[in-house]
Amino acid sequence: MKKLRALVIGIVLIIVVLIAGSKILSQSSGMSGAKVINIYNWGDYIDPELISEFEKKTGYKVNYETFDSNEAMLTKIKQGGTSYDLAVPSDYMIQKMKKAHLLKPLDKSKIKGLNNISSQFLNQPFDRNNRYSVPYFWGTLGVVYNDKYFKESDVDSWNKLWNKKFRGKIMFVDGAREFMGIGLASLGYSLNSKNDRELDQAYNKLKSLTGNAKAIVSDEIKMYMENEESSVAVTYSGEASEMLAENRHLHYVLPSEGTNLWFDNIVIPKTSKNTKGTYAFINFMLEPKNAAKNAEYIGYATPNEKARKYLPKDVIDDKQFYPSKSLMKKMEVYEDLGSRYIEKYNDLYLELKMYRH
């Protein structure tokens, strides 16, 4: 009987400790007070020197937390455990958060330097008139190739990926919008097509591309390209810039038909409390010098037009990461398609993955 009582008491104790512990844990993340701003950003997505500079200049204390996917960020902000003052979601997620009423509209009178941003990156379909978001970085979807095996003219168009010499050689980034987008773009259709006939046409065309696929993976592409397991891959410019830094035989090419244009923008979640500090940080990041410094550290393309003169010439002249205006015109941002078409895209994509040519 004594043993039994000890067991019951033990269990109760453990439960109490766990509950108390989880309470403390959920409170400890994030700090409060007028002098603190909580930033929620992708991992390693800001030059740490900029944070200390900002802290020194303004006297605010920055609490920097990171996430590794848009969906994870959405969940955490929905929960509302921490009062994040700033977050950096991607385009389609901004649209989703806006619809879910998770964002505060920006007070434009408090923002200085929005006109530093090139007009081609403002007023995008996911956030008209930038009511909720300020562009942070942008990029594209393109092709990385290894010059030991192929040359630029082999991959400068989506249609060239169908070439027989790529049989079993191309790595594709695992995403329904991306893969279907290759088919749509190669036919000259919109990446946001909601036309069933166009989608079926793209599907039928893509069937014969599956034979050229070596693998359909996500983060692993970087590793496989760097160690030359694979010689061609369709991937994002952000990932590409990291690969290029590791292996000098790799190059990034934008297909001539146009491609996807993506954005990571700064937004203010509903949970934000430190309004003054938040706008101070946004303005700090909009300053051309700081934007340039950040872009140099991260290696992504900055939307800040005036920052360009602070960047090395070979970076700005790199047509693959800062493409020409005429090519930019052909690019499209993904729009939220609504559940019916998201399902249609994914169904077709699943069938393509299964298809063996």
Partner: protein
């Protein structure tokens, strides 16, 4: 005394309710709702009407069947051989040892071994053979899956063979049966229970291998696990994902019934 027994059953009972019954009920429940939360049978209609899901089911069953067959072909002689050895426990330990290592680590190790500049291809080039693509192929996938499942097949067969009374074999030989007849008529039928639980332990998890289809198969091998992940994470159509889950549960019951009777153990 009886009161105590009931008391000690509480943790097990709670476990059963919260982690076995409740999830199954939830999955079955979800499978009757569409993405807008309306009651519907459409998910099942979609499943059986579209060739896509049936083909995927067929793929999953085929891969699981081949993996099971391959492990069985390797495991039975291995287990038989093990029972004849002196330091069985040591040898057995060596077979179980790999199961203590995280599956993800093993998968990554195989990526290194199979890659174009990896161990196997370097070995082949040494003998003048051109490097071959092994990663992201059916063959590569089957090898890794078989490797991971082997211990779960060897164990029950080994136990079955070890429990075999040696006097039965002696009797069979005394009564004039040759070695092959003894094996076919005495040893094999008596080890069948072990084979059956081995098949259960291998076939059922193999049906929804999903991390391996991605890491080793490079999504060139598609099974139902891939579809479930997609419906829960990307399209958020939990109803359809749950429907596929229900089909998998039913498939598992069928396997249990076929290989059923007196079952011993299984995995975990």
């Amino acid at each position: 005394m009886k009161k105590y027994n009931a008391f000690f059953a509480i943790p097990y009972f709670l476990w059963l309710v919260f982690f076995v019954l409740a999830p199954v009920i939830l999955i079955v429940g979800y499978s009757f709702f569409d993405s807008n939360g309306n009651f519907t049978l459409q998910n099942y209609a979609t499943y059986f009407a579209s060739g896509k899901y049936l083909a995927m089911t067929f793929n999953s069953v085929l891969y699981a069947f081949l993996i099971t067959l391959l492990t069985l072909v390797i495991s039975y002689p291995t287990a038989y051989f093990l029972t004849k050895l002196k330091h069985r426990d040591l040898w057995l330990l060596l077979i179980i040892l790999p199961t203590w290592i995280n599956m993800l680590l093993k998968a990554y190790a195989f990526i290194g071994i199979f890659s174009l500049h990896g161990g196997i291809n370097r070995f082949m080039t040494f003998f003048g053979l051109a490097p071959h693509q092994i990663l992201f192929t059916d063959v590569g996938f089957m090898i890794v899956a078989t490797y991971i499942q082997l211990p779960f097949m060897i164990m029950p067969i080994f136990t079955g063979l070890e429990e075999l009374n040696p006097s039965l074999i002696k009797a069979s030989r005394d009564l004039g049966a040759n070695a092959f007849q003894t094996f076919a008529k005495v040893v094999f039928p008596l080890s069948l229970a072990g084979v059956k639980s081995g098949i259960q332990a291998v076939f059922i998890p193999s049906l929804s291998f999903f991390m391996l289809t991605r890491l080793i198969g490079g999504n060139r091998v598609i099974t139902l696990g891939t579809a479930i992940e997609e419906h829960f994470l990307v399209t958020q159509d939990w109803g359809m994902g749950a429907t596929i889950g229900v089909v998998l549960i039913v498939a598992m019951f069928i396997v249990m019934i076929i290989t059923g009777e007196k079952k011993k153990g299984g995995r975990n």
